[in-house]
Amino acid sequence: MMLVMPVMQLIILPLAMDFDVKFVNLAVVDNDHSTASQKLISTVTASGFFKMKGNASSYKEALQLIQKGQADIILEIPPSFEKNLVRENRQQLALYADAINGTKAGIGSGYLLSVIRSYSLALDIGLKSVPKDASAGAIDITYSNWFNPLGIYRYNIVPAVLVLLLTLIGGYITALNIVREKEMGTIEQINVTPVKKWQFILGKLTPFWIIGMIVFTIGLVISALVYGIVPKGNIFLLYAFAMVYLVGIMGFGLLISTYSSNQVQAMFVAFFFMMIFMLMSGFFTSIDSMPGWAKLISDLTPVTHFIKTDRMIILKGSEWKDVKTEFFYLVAFALFLNSWAILNYRKTN
């Protein structure tokens, strides 16, 4: 299971996680049926951003489509659209967006606005003579996205999934470890031997640490083979980070283990904390958008730091001097969590 799980996760998660807003379902209500309105509709259709859900004959009918979840935005063209445009040079259009999913509504209406803007400009050039000073003051904006020019979301997700793998193995399995011995009673036998606490704990950690690094390597190989993601930066740096991070997370698992009395509890508690860590770490949502207190909490978890540096090293090729503060954070976490676990573990109850 330990080998199948990373493969499955690496394949399923990046495929499923695509936050891109690609197709927005649009319903059009054309109350004008004029040449201008037809032109607007065809410009919108041709833009390729929308899946046209047909023309409804009234706002009420279109609203039904939104209620059923079949449409995301309604574009309503008022009657006398063309007439007012020609006479007063100004006309209003109504857009109604299903805003339950705020991002989708925002991006969808953004697309629609830019299409309408270009329709406006096209009208201008076609129907009226271009005023003399129209060409002055045009700001030409060029943009480029570095490190990921095509904007492929997978490049963002795969490094994070690698961190997720290590977190699962490190956190869950070590959490179960000591508790299982407690439940089975074999821990009593170990407690009466002269083995020191730290030797005992180190002994428990080591095999799983090795397995964790093997899983990490498998993960890297899969990302290269399946997704073509090869780390741009120094691979030894990446491994150094992974090693320290794994020790830290295992320390956390052990800590949970020392506080729980049975396996189910340990798993549940581990799950609870893992979920909070993953959510706050910048895996799904961006850290910059968080309010100050949330950022503080996010900074306190080792997961955040590793996801950040993992992405930096793999995608941007960041070097030691760029990530050394993060490295020291991770070392500090590892030391702190493991010491706490060792101190908390009592040989006698």
């Binding site: 807003v21 040079n89 299903d98 925002g106 490190f147 020019p149 490049y155 958008s289």
Partner: protein, 366 residues
């Protein structure tokens, strides 16, 4: 009947004695609601923008002050050469850079076009796209104000955000949190509870007693049913009072659908408990096999329509997906039963199916 009540009381004692699990059971939704409601947001804010103003003339300063006054960016100005940009990005200090060439103002006034360049850190494509959008809008607005044509056609769109005029970013998550919590509590805890008896050996005792095996299962399920309804109520109250969400739909209908979903999850829990004899496996199965699909295939974290088609087909088997749609329609859009009867039927069908299999496979002898 009296026997059943006694058993139910015993099961309640079991549940209440495990304080830690109880704490997590109720703490989890509270934490998630707070996180999703206040900390996590799919909006893009506080973007660290580095501006390299090589022109330093009236126009570039005006654009920069416009950018500063919009709430989206944290602006830091540095004079960086093009060659140093990559190093800056590698340090992770900047999410995007805006570069004005030194002849900006001149070009604008005399030759008609002036270039500016936006460079974004593409590691997160959505943020990159949004940054370009924001900056483009601000710059184009500046252009329209100062150099815009007075004459010309203007088509002015007015946007109305339906169901969410306040622009609450967390609406999408709340039904998802409900589905997730109910699924976890009902499926995982129920299955563990039954398997624990098997593991400890006390199940045998129960089975040889004159007590019907069916009642054993029902007795085990009831405490979790009650607690889940309580949990659902807590989530609802938190959504209304802490997050300010308006419940537009019929509240009894909400409860009815939730109880149906709870029973679906309980049946799933029963099914899992039949399949295994160890608590660890039961918990693992419930958490990994049930929870991960719920998160991915419900569509509340990641849009379903972006996934490859086979995934979309699989999502139809996940009961949480139907429940999520029902809650969204009833609670957030305020629709009535006539809009959700299809999903309710599907959920009901799944429940009956799962229950039948679970009860059939329940071994009355060991």
């Amino acid at each position: 009947m009296k026997q059943l009540l006694v058993f139910i009381r015993k099961e309640f004692y079991h549940v209440f004695r495990d304080r830690r699990t109880l704490l997590i059971m109720f703490g989890l939704p509270v934490v998630q609601i707070i996180l999703f409601g206040f900390a996590l947001s799919s909006e893009v804010k506080n973007i660290r923008l580095g501006i390299s103003d090589n022109a330093e003339d009236v126009n570039s300063r005006q654009i920069i002050s416009k950018i500063r006054s919009s709430d989206y960016f944290i602006v830091s100005e540095k004079k960086i050469g093009y060659g140093e940009l990559e190093a800056e990005f590698r340090k992770g200090n900047m999410t995007a850079a805006l570069i004005f060439p030194n002849s900006f103002g001149n070009d604008l006034l005399h030759s008609g076009t002036a270039p500016v360049q936006i460079i974004t850190d593409g590691s997160d494509p959505n943020i990159a796209k949004t940054v370009v959008n924001y900056l483009t809008n601000i710059i184009q607005a500046y252009q329209a104000e100062n150099f815009g044509r007075a004459a010309g056609y203007q088509v002015v769109p007015e946007i109305r955000m339906l169901y969410n005029e306040e622009g609450n970013g967390s609406l999408n998550f709340i039904p998802g949190v409900m589905a997730l919590i109910l699924m976890i509590v009902c499926t995982a805890l129920t299955s563990v509870s039954i398997v624990k008896e098997k593991e400890l050996g006390t199940m045998e005792v129960l089975l040889v007693s004159p007590f019907k095996p069916i009642w054993v299962l029902i007795a085990k399920a009831i405490p979790y049913l009650v607690l889940s309804i309580l949990n659902f109520t807590v989530i609802l109250l938190m959504a209304v009072f802490v997050l300010g969400v308006e419940v537009r739909g019929n509240v009894p209908l909400l409860f009815f659908e939730s109880i149906l979903f709870i029973i679906t999850c309980l049946s799933l829990g029963l099914l899992i408990s039949n399949a295994t004899n160890s608590q660890q496996t039961a918990l693992l199965l419930s958490l990994m096999v049930m929870m991960l699909p719920t998160i991915i295939f419900t569509g509340f974290m990641m849009p379903l329509e972006n996934m490859p088609v086979p995934f979309q087909v699989i999502s139809n088997i996940v009961p949480a997906k139907w429940y999520y749609n029902i809650i969204k329609s009833v609670m957030l859009k305020g629709l009535g039963f006539e809009y959700v009867w299809k999903e309710t039927l599907v959920l009901g069908g799944m429940t009956v199916f799962l229950l039948t299999i679970a009860l059939k496979k329940f071994k009355t002898t060991l």
